[in-house]
Subunit: 325 residues, 2 copies
DNA sequence: GCGCGCCTTGCAAACGATTGCAGAGCTGCT
DNA sequence: AGCAGCTCTGCAATCGTTTGCAAGGCGCGC
């Protein structure tokens, strides 16, 4: 049932109906009441699509995770899911809906399509993956875009993220403090955030060599990689995993190989997902403060939507010492 | 940049541009190529809103969780989040976007607004909460609506869900088999799925009395409720929690009270969320098969969108025995 | 009695796409 | 030459709102 139908029934124009329903002051109290009552009675609900088209605003925010590197990584990834959960709560509280969008960057148009589709008022991206240049290009012409990820010097697009270099450094320092000497970085060093974690790790390791075990971030792939590595020769005595999920796969592979954690091998993860506190042994990890981070993302985005200025921000990572290292 | 602009540049009508971009056979190869090239060069991307309005289809599915009972329950709830993850993967694979929608049922219009907004081609609901009647009413006039929840005799709306009565029964049987006598059901018995779990539990308990500790499903509330109950008098020797999250809160309260699980009190949860395997002790629980469940939801919904018939379905629950009971 | 201003309401133009129908131009056949 | 038939393109309506502008009706003051 559309406004025009109601207008016909009420014997007025659709213009009047529209104004009555939106409480426009220029329509008389009596007509307003009459139309309101009629609308309730017949269950009239304006088509949002038409409304959005006319108003050029939608009340929706797009949320996407570019899966450039890890095609196999799914939305079921715990880190993404909890980020999503926090963001969803915050946005819903502010009256926005969330468009969870399809992103498989087969070409460099995906982000253009998203921002130009007219379906959303702003875009939130989780991770830059291998799409840094695309994001940079689009951000130059489209303001309401905020990314969870790394911030490089001279970067144009707004990011909120944890200090990955620092986080990597903290991990290395902690492991060295435990007297570990054969350090191994586990994960895909290609995505920017992981690259920074590795860089910070190497930096703080100083003279101590860092072995890199590069693999896809999918749990089975990580598990297989670690198992192969353990079969290949002298085990490391410390593993710094690029994510908690990777760390958990490592834990499993180590246990299966009969190695004790942290006795034989210390393991440290990244993210502090909810699960990390419950693995056995409980995972020592570098926490990303998602409560603060997601709040900043939403605030920054809303500021940009309102046409105000905003800046990137970095939330400090924190070492959470549990039992695995 | 809209089609009309491109049309002006190319010296043709917007009609031709539209047809060229959509590969309509009635526009000549040469014009098609020329317009395509021009479009690429100037980054023309059709406004989806206008397109959807005209076509009366959107390529998006709404996903919502009515929070009638548990106002405090957030989207960060692990069960909802993993359901969301599975659904998102499935829908995205089929080319649909997901509109994660604001649902706070302050009145009984929320679902009408969602289906009449024109923004989605179909609606997926997680849980019926206290909105059973509303859902029933809307389903009578709106076909593409599928709900995760309970199925009652004579129900009109399509549901996919696990057999909660059976699940409750399995829990009771297992606990009685362990020789437990003082059974306690923990959770809010109001939402239909929880009510059924309790009913099945009671039924299978037979002559053995079942105490009900009713509380909000928010973790802190559950924890407080269990603590108060333990302080109040003789502890139960078995707890059946309405969800894994509630079970985990119970675990914490029991440990704090110096009780051993499962020595003093056996604990059994519901859902088998990822976390359940990693609590200490690992949680015995009733698994809901989400892989099958979500696949059925999506298939059923797509069938309804296509105008075909479809029926409700029930996936069997399964007892996962770990260490807590 | 007339004109001014106020209160309501309606007309019609947006918003930006898609598509049925008609017509323009061309070829080819008789 | 004339006409049928085919290929391509454009006109204009349509989807369902919102809103600037203008106008109708009415009261009131002079």
């Amino acid at each position: 049932m559309k406004l025009a139908d109601l207008a016909a029934m009420a014997g007025v124009s659709t213009a009047t109906v529209s104004r009555a329903l939106s409480g426009h002051p220029s329509v008389s109290k009596t007509t307003q009441e009459r139309i309101r009552a009629l609308a309730r009675e017949h269950g009239v609900r304006p088509n949002q699509l038409a409304r959005n088209l006319r108003l050029r605003s939608t009340g929706a925010i797009a949320l996407a995770m570019p899966l450039g590197h890890a095609r196999t990584q799914h939305l079921t990834d715990p880190f993404f899911l909890s980020l999503l959960g926090f963001l969803a709560d915050l946005l819903v509280d502010r009256g926005y809906d969330i468009l969870l969008s399809r992103v498989l960057p087969e070409n460099d148009e995906w982000l253009d399509r998203l921002v130009d589709s007219g379906r959303v008022d702003g875009v939130l991206l989780v991770g830059q993956s291998d799409q840094y240049d695309t994001i940079e290009r689009v951000a130059a012409r489209y303001a309401p875009l905020v990314v969870w990820g790394v911030n490089r010097p001279g970067q144009r697009h707004l990011t909120i993220g944890s200090d990955n270099i620092r986080g990597g450094g903290i991990a290395a320092t902690h492991l060295l403090g435990l007297g570990r000497q054969r350090l191994l970085f586990l994960g895909d060093p290609a995505p920017p955030e992981f690259a920074e974690r590795l860089a910070g790790f190497r930096d703080a390791a100083g003279a101590t060599a860092v072995e890199v075990l590069s693999c896809e971030m999918d749990p089975d792939a990580v598990h297989a990689a670690v198992r192969a590595r353990l079969a290949a020769g002298t085990a490391p005595d410390a593993i710094f995993a690029a994510s908690d999920v990777a760390a958990m796969s490592a834990l499993r592979a180590l246990t299966e190989a009969g190695l004790d954690v942290p006795g034989d091998v210390a393991v440290i993860g990244y993210d502090d997902v909810t699960l990390a506190a419950h693995t056995s042994p409980p995972l020592t990890t570098i926490r990303q403060d998602l409560v603060t981070g997601t709040r900043l993302m939403v605030e920054t985005l809303l500021r940009r939507i309102a046409g105000e200025t905003a800046t990137s921000a970095i939330v400090p990572p924190e070492l959470i010492v549990r039992a695995s290292a």
